[in-house]
């Protein structure tokens, strides 16, 4: 085949199903994960619809429990954890470091099929849908009559896929960097993905084994978590959060990586404090393993343990806060274009600041006692996970859409969607901070009437949010055929993926480039182009 033929040139089911091209695998992950984003979002709309009324309405409490479990589990395990690493990471890590593919292309395809088989197993469980919450706390999950065993096995497969992908990325970043691509010339997205991969490889085995223990508990009544047999129900929570806190950073680090690419490009300024941002990704990856107990301050864990975990939690806030200052400083004296990728990046910063600052109340022991397990917590993690990660993802999607598809998005529709989503998001989730301060517990199918009006407000917000998301996805789909043909480098960015055609040829680079400079030389006297 010709050297310049696009990676999309071959058609037909087999050319996708058996592909070992990291770009095609990335696209397959992109479609799969976003499908679950839409389904999970739809379930959230149903939940909000029920909460329009404080009493019994629409469907039973049991159905409500099933729906919030599905919403949480899908959004976390099938969307937000794999969304950026497996899709955009797969597509762009080799392109950004000047490689032809990931280190192990076959393993990469195998990981995708592991992911899909995990999903299929989870879908089988819908025969007896689980109502344990995505946190699977024992003994409730151990004694539950629903298909917890099936789901655990499905998530085990999804976790395997995640470990293999992480491993693949680590080896790729170590061994396949183009000549001259030193560690300090790596785009920050790569640093973010590196930190992410380390966490995935180290923490996912723990949740895998925890799910196996849960299965053993259910099938053979072993009693790891059963006090009647000398087990400890809190042990499960320790295992669970030992994975699930670091995983919060699997979700956020790649998004921070995207922001660190988009902000300099659209402000035409070098990233402020490159090394600080790069090392903070590693620092966060490391400290994130030591803070899991902040989910358990009121669980019955000792006071001393609470004090230690609270301290370490504030410790991890330092590198996170520092990044915010770095991004804002990058804007200073820039020449800022507010194209859609930049709008989403700025929205990320705006919402993530709120998410981060409200985290202070949850990290402080005294105030956590009051707001823990209330809607305050729900609001906080939606501000960090949706306001953070998902906005970062949206930024990345708008930024890289021309590269992936070879078409430009409709900028006007992108901005309509942006308005709707930003307003809808805040109307939905901000009232939840107040609901939580007023004491409304989470996972409530019915609630006291005094919480009614703020719940109505949140539900109305969810409709705006939904309309915005629909507009955005309509734009994604419509532009596939009707968008303007994208040039190789529409944003005049300096990273390597923009130096090849859009969409990239199958082997990425005709000749592997030699790198002579870092990718943030915007505004440098010697000229605004790569390699002087």
């Amino acid at each position: 085949m010709s050297q310049t033929e696009s990676y999309l040139a071959h058609k037909g089911f087999k050319s996708w199903a058996l592909t070992m091209d990291h770009k095609r695998i990335g696209v397959m992950y992109l479609v799969t994960t976003h499908l679950f984003f839409l389904i999970g979002g739809f379930l959230a709309l149903l939940l909000r619809l029920k909460l329009l009324s404080p009493g019994p309405a629409l469907f039973s409490a049991h159905t409500y429990d099933v729906l919030f479990t599905m919403h949480g589990a899908m959004m976390i395990f099938l969307f937000i954890i794999p969304a950026i690493p497996s899709s955009l990471g797969n597509f762009f890590i080799p392109l950004l470091i000047g490689a032809r593919d990931v280190a192990f292309p076959k393993l990469n395809l195998f990981s995708y099929y592991l992911f899909v088989s995990g999903i299929l197993v989870i879908l089988i469980s819908l025969v007896q849908p689980i109502d344990t919450g995505w946190t699977f706390y024992t003994p409730f999950s151990a004694e539950n009559s629903a298909a917890v065993t099936t789901v655990s096995f499905g998530l085990f497969l999804v976790g395997m896929s995640s470990i293999l992908t992480g491993l693949n990325f680590i080896v790729t970043i170590h061994t396949l960097r183009a000549p001259g691509m030193t560690w300090y010339r790596l785009p920050l997205f790569i640093w973010g993905m590196y930190g992410t991969s380390v966490i995935q490889v180290l923490s996912t085995p723990v949740i895998g084994i925890t799910f196996l223990l849960l299965v053993a508990e259910r099938l053979f009544g072993v009693g790891f978590f059963d006090p009647a047999k000398g087990g400890d129900p809190l042990l499960f929570q320790h295992f669970f959060w030992f994975y699930s806190h670091p995983v919060v950073y699997v979700m956020i680090l790649p998004a921070m990586g995207i922001i660190s690419e988009v902000i300099p490009c659209f402000a035409r300024k070098p990233i402020f404090g490159y090394k600080a941002i790069a090392y903070s990704a590693l620092a966060i990856a490391f400290i994130s393993f030591l803070v899991w107990g902040h989910h358990m301050f009121v669980s019955g864990m000792s006071t001393t343990a609470g004090v230690i975990f609270s301290f370490l939690t504030f410790f991890v806030a330092v590198p996170t806060g520092m990044k915010i200052f770095n991004w804002i400083a990058t804007l200073y004296k820039g020449s800022i274009s507010l194209d859609s990728p930049m709008l989403w990046a700025l929205t990320f910063i705006f919402l993530f600041i709120i998410g981060g600052l409200t985290g202070l109340f949850l990290g402080s022991l005294a105030t956590d006692v009051h707001v823990h397990d209330t809607y305050f917590l729900v609001a906080h993690f939606h501000y960090t996970m949706m306001g953070g990660t998902v906005m970062g993802l949206f930024s990345g999607l708008h930024y890289w859409y021309p590269k992936i598809t070879g078409r430009m998005l409709d900028e006007r529709w992108a901005k309509h969607a942006w308005w709707m989503i930003v307003v809808g998001f805040n109307v939905t989730f901000f009232p939840m901070f107040i609901l939580g301060m007023q004491g409304m517990p989470r996972r409530y199918a019915e609630y006291p009437a005094k919480y009614h009006s703020l719940n109505v407000l949140a539900t109305v917000g969810s409709w705006l949010l939904a309309v915005g998301i629909v507009i955005m996805f309509a734009n994604f789909i419509r532009s596939l055929n009707r968008g303007a043909i994208a040039p190789a480098n529409p944003w005049e960015a300096l990273t390597l993926e923009w130096q090849v055609p859009s969409p990239p040829p199958e082997e990425n680079f005709e000749v592997i480039p030699t790198v002579t400079d870092w990718p943030y030389s915007y505004g440098k006297e010697t000229g605004d182009t790569r390699g002087k």
Binding site: H62, D65, V307, G321, V369
Partner: protein, 316 residues
């Protein structure tokens, strides 16, 4: 000092005021950083904005400023240490035993709270306290993990099976307050609510006196014993006695009635049906309900079950 009671509910216990003080402390710091960062973000985005289609202006090549980076690492770190320390001080205070506290045994079960006083009186979903009198809640669960949460007290503690956890309360205000279950525990989780009634000290003594008398005059009749067991076993968490719908079928008028089961069969609710429903609850599930009731085979003795049935018979 600003007051958070409009947002968080009344400061009804010793802990409430302390927790709100920490809350306000963090709020002030958070507000400062919120205004600083969002202000700069929006100001820069507007001030240095380039019009659509315009070529980028010349921008300065600034890659970092070490002193600035040191400032924004050190200053927030110091404030974080402050927040951490203040939180610890109040948390430790909340968990320090209050001398002279009365013990109240709390048993959580799906989906009901039972409160037992030192003299054996047990109440379902009702906790009565005297203002100014400290109480130690000694809590355990019969089944899964629950969480006892009193928003007006800013107090919360998970309740676990197989061990005790504690809460120390010092009521400061007369009134009634909500008690919620804060840890998701199943279908009836959101209805697992109880009421905390705080009375003046004299009113409390009078209430206690009359309750004790009531208990004595009820004596040891099976019906009274059945009612006590009904409350302490948590039956009322799922089964109403007034005909209203809960997670399980109401028990009002159930004795002698004809019940339609999930498989469409119709059975007469006699003594044997009620006994089996207590010992093997998921054998005959009433139509329209989930098979979620735990068995009481090992917790209730034969004459306990007989007493409960005697009590159910009176629910006409």
């Amino acid at each position: 000092m600003p007051d958070l009671t409009a947002l968080q509910g009344t400061e009804a216990s010793l802990a409430s005021h302390d927790v709100d003080a920490v809350f306000i402390f963090i709020l002030v710091i958070a507000a400062f950083f919120f205004v600083l960062t969002q202000g700069l973000l929006i100001y820069f985005a507007v001030r240095y904005r380039r019009k659509k289609g315009e070529p980028p202006a010349k921008t300065p090549y600034i890659t970092g400023k070490q002193w600035l980076e040191v400032v924004w690492i050190v200053l927030p770190s110091l404030l974080l240490v402050g927040i951490f320390a203040y939180g610890v001080i109040i948390f430790v205070k909340m968990r320090t035993p209050i001398p002279g506290a009365t013990d109240v045994q709390v048993t959580a079960s799906q989906f009901q709270w039972s409160f037992k006083y030192p003299d054996g009186r047990t109440y379902s979903n009702e906790l009565h306290l005297a203002v100014g009198k400290p109480v130690k809640l000694i809590m355990t669960s019969r089944d899964v993990i629950h969480g006892l949460f009193i928003p007006d007290y800013r107090q919360k503690q998970d309740v676990l099976p197989g061990r005790y956890t504690y809460l120390w309360l010092l009521p400061k205000r007369i009134g009634t307050f909500d008690i919620y279950c804060s840890q998701y525990c199943g279908t009836g989780h959101s209805l697992m609510r109880a009421t905390l009634t705080v009375m003046g000290q004299n009113d409390y003594l009078a209430w206690e006196q009359s309750e004790k008398q009531k208990q004595q005059s009820a004596g040891a009749s099976p019906k009274a014993k059945g009612k006590a067991l009904f409350d302490s076993s948590g039956c009322g968490g799922c089964h109403s006695i007034d005909g209203s719908a809960k997670v399980g079928p109401t028990l009002k008028g159930v004795f002698g009635s004809t019940v339609t089961l999930a498989d469409g069969k119709q059975v007469k609710a006699d003594e044997e049906y009620l006994r089996e429903s207590i010992t093997e609850p998921n054998e005959q599930v009433v139509k329209g309900f989930q098979p979620i009731m735990p068995t009481f085979k090992s917790t209730l003795k034969d004459d306990d079950i007989a007493a409960i049935i005697a009590y159910i018979k009176t629910l006409k």
